[in-house]
């Protein structure tokens, strides 16, 4: 047992740990496979040609962004209900990572749109909802990063976080209706859904695995960074209290 004591005494020098190393390696393998299948082994699409290869990262990123957003709402609800810092930090970490994946989804969406629709941005229901998701996440993150006492900051962000996913659902619904009013279903909708199977479906499946593992890996690390940051703040606070007391006595 002495080994674990010594480790505890010195403590890990980074946010890494055995679990993150395992997940990290698995993620790298999956990413490698995704690269291999996505760019070389899987065939061109009969209609879109190479452009379909962008979808192998675009679709999983979009899904993970929504999952991250749902996690933020769950975390916020549990913080408000149970006052557990662990869940609040999870909510914050997953919101930030969800924002990264939302950005990726938007960029790849536009890059996919250019060769297939001939234009970078189309008010397609999915893309528009993803753009709104980005704005909602930026609002949450802007609020969460305002310097204030942890409880104040956490409580306010939890209220916004609590409403994040319901907002996304309502926005998605309204954009869906709004979109079908003045635009025929886009190529994107039937292009992917109808005829993807065989090797292409397998590649997409790898995409989900790879992006999913990367999300988990990032989440664990980002959580620990947030945890350390809060600990550091407490540390500074204790020091500030000590200085404050000294200030009184000196006079």
């Amino acid at each position: 047992m002495t080994n674990s004591e010594t480790v505890a005494a010195t403590g890990p020098l980074s946010t890494g740990s055995s679990t993150t190393r395992v997940i990290g390696i698995l993620a790298l393998i999956a990413m490698g496979a995704l690269l291999l299948f996505g760019l070389w082994l899987s065939p061109d699409d009969v209609n879109q040609g190479d452009a379909v290869r962008i979808l192998y990262i675009h679709v999983p990123s979009a899904t993970i962004a929504y999952i991250g957003c749902a996690l933020t709402t769950i975390g916020s609800v549990l913080y408000l209900w149970r006052r557990s810092q662990w869940w609040e930090l999870t909510a914050y970490a997953s919101a930030e990572i969800a924002a990264v994946f939302t950005a990726i989804t938007l960029v790849t969406g536009m890059l996919w749109g250019r060769p297939t629709w001939g234009v970078y941005w189309v008010w397609d229901a999915r893309l528009t909802t993803t753009a709104m998701l980005m704005l909602l996440l930026l609002g949450y993150l802007a609020l969460r990063r305002l310097p204030a006492d942890y409880d104040v900051r956490a409580k306010r962000s939890a209220i916004v976080g609590l409403l994040l996913f319901p907002n996304v659902i309502i926005v998605r619904q309204s954009v869906q209706w709004w979109n079908t009013l003045h635009q025929k279903p886009t190529l994107f909708a039937n292009g992917l859904g109808a005829r993807i199977e065989g090797l292409m479906l397998f590649t997409l499946f790898i995409g989900f695995i790879a992006i999913g593992l990367t999300f988990v890996w990032l989440l664990i690390h980002r959580f620990r960074v947030a945890y350390l940051a809060e600990q550091l703040e407490k540390e500074d606070l204790d020091r500030a209290i000590a200085d404050r007391r000294a200030e009184g006595i000196v006079r």
């Binding site: 408000l80 709104m132 704005l135 909602l136 930026l138 609002g139 802007a142 609020l143 305002l146 204030a148 006492d149 409880d151 104040v152 409580k155 306010r156 939890a158 209220i159 916004v160 609590l162 409403l163 319901p166 907002n167 309502i170 926005v171 619904q173 309204s174 954009v175 209706w177 709004w178 009013l181």
Partner: protein
């Protein structure tokens, strides 16, 4: 108990509004300016302005809502009032509902006047009154509820002017889309298209009123 606090807050806010008249001599002229700006931007004689009227109307309402929410909460956090409110024994949910009512009433008045302005300036022809009125009703409740909740979240932060729009406007897109489409359905005399939007906005308003009633205590807690 909650309704008593709500009545007290709404009464106080509306009396405050009546006495300071800021709504009348600042927000209303601002609304008129916005309408005229849109007219210049969209060259009134083309029918583009006519078609865009519902959208312009509701975008103007959103801006008015932002100023109204911003103002009412800046008053609440000046002169040590936020301390007195927390000491006053008012129910947080009552405070929230009172604010929603007072902001809602102020918005309704502005919407009526804006509606008159739009009808005159843009030669809009309102029809299908039941759909129009229910759109105004349910949209105003949604905007007031979300405005109060996010207004309170942003109330005492130094950067309130910038964070309130960033938090509130993206959240209000379903109301903007819903109310604009419902108005268009009314003007094109196809009300059937409009009613689903009323349903969506009703869900939106319900979510925010519920979130406000249960979450507001936590928000009022901190300075």
């Amino acid at each position: 108990m909650m309704w008593r606090s709500a009545r007290l807050i709404a009464g106080k806010d509306l009396r405050l509004e009546w006495r300071s008249r800021v709504g009348m001599n600042q927000v209303l002229p601002f609304a008129a300016v916005v309408l005229v700006m849109f007219a210049f931007a969209l060259n009134p004689d083309s029918d583009l302005l006519q078609k865009a009227t519902p959208g312009l109307f509701w975008v103007s309402v959103l801006f008015l809502a932002l100023t109204t929410v911003g103002r009412t909460f800046s008053i609440e956090s000046s002169e040590g009032i936020s301390d007195s409110i927390r000491l006053s024994g008012l129910e947080p949910s009552g405070f929230f509902l009172g604010k929603v009512i007072s902001i809602g009433v102020q918005l309704l008045i502005l919407e009526v006047l804006l509606g008159i302005g739009v009808t005159v300036l843009y030669r809009a022809s309102p029809a299908e009154w039941p759909l129009l009125l229910s759109t105004v009703g349910v949209a105003t409740v949604g905007i007031a509820a979300a405005g109060t909740l996010y207004g309170m979240v942003a109330v005492s932060l130094r950067v309130r002017e910038t964070i309130l729009p960033l938090l509130l406007l993206p959240v209000l897109t379903p109301v903007l889309i819903g109310s604009t489409r419902a108005f268009e359905a009314a003007i094109n005399e196809t009300p059937a298209d409009g009613w689903p939007w009323i349903g969506l906005m009703a869900v939106f308003s319900f979510v925010y009123v519920a979130a406000g009633i249960f979450g507001f205590g936590a928000l009022m807690e901190d300075s």
